[in-house]
Amino acid sequence: MMERPDLKQALGRLLGPAGPEVGCDECFDQLDRYVELELAGQDADAAIPGLRAHLAGCPACREEHESLRALVGGEQAL
């Protein structure tokens, strides 16, 4: 099948993640723990099921995850 990246991305946004996911509330509550597990090289997805799927489906929570990871990761690198 020919690659249709624009259509694929648009469909991804319309249909969202396939698996179960947490909501924005649970995502916010768990985000600090999730980021520290990630930065420690541990299996954050196994520890907090459904958060990765939520990040895939919610651009706002995804941006905040990226920011927290960058901020904390940057401090740890100093």
Binding site: L14, G16, A18, E36
Partner: protein, 234 residues
Amino acid sequence: MRALNAATVGLVEPVSPLPTLPPAAPSLDADSREWLRCLHADDATREEAIARLHALLMRAARFEVARRRPTLPHLRGDELEDIATEAADDALMSVLRRLDDFRGASRFTTWAYKFALLEAAVKLRKRSWQGREVPLEPEGWGLFSSAGLEPDAEAEQSELLETLQSAIAQVLTPHQRRVLVALALNGVPIDVLAERLNTNRGALYKTLHDARRKLRTHLQGRGLALDNWLEEKR
């Protein structure tokens, strides 16, 4: 339901209940323990700790502003600094209000940072859409050109898009349709839509989630193999 900040983002119910395990008997690290001791003190120690906490939150808010600055060329430096300060102020109130929620699942500073990042991000999203109309009707179907596709692929894409548009029009409730179209098709930030519809991020995401599930079920019921169109491989 706990309210994070009524002025910005209401916290939400989980979209679907998942067996999220609590951290196994977290023990506070020394730095986090010291933060809590000082913030719970009843003398000048507390005021000094609050000042340090505000400085920490200010650093996080400025970090978020700096990350987003390239997408906000119309905002002056002093406006951005004002937004960072407001975000740090609001985050400080949230952190102090929810101090007893901190259980040591992460370091205290990581826990506190997320409040400032959230406040700054929400304020910047709203600011970037200030004065703009929020599109609630589909605008983007024409973007998916079939130019260059083989005839079979073109027919397949047309069938998918027609089925999808039909499903959005017929399967979803009017509210689900508005939310899905605005967020997923027209790219309206969820916090901006929440403000315009006088609701919160969590409630909107729940609506979006339910709409997505309905669409998936409908499309699969029509025999469309979504795996071929998405990056989902089982």
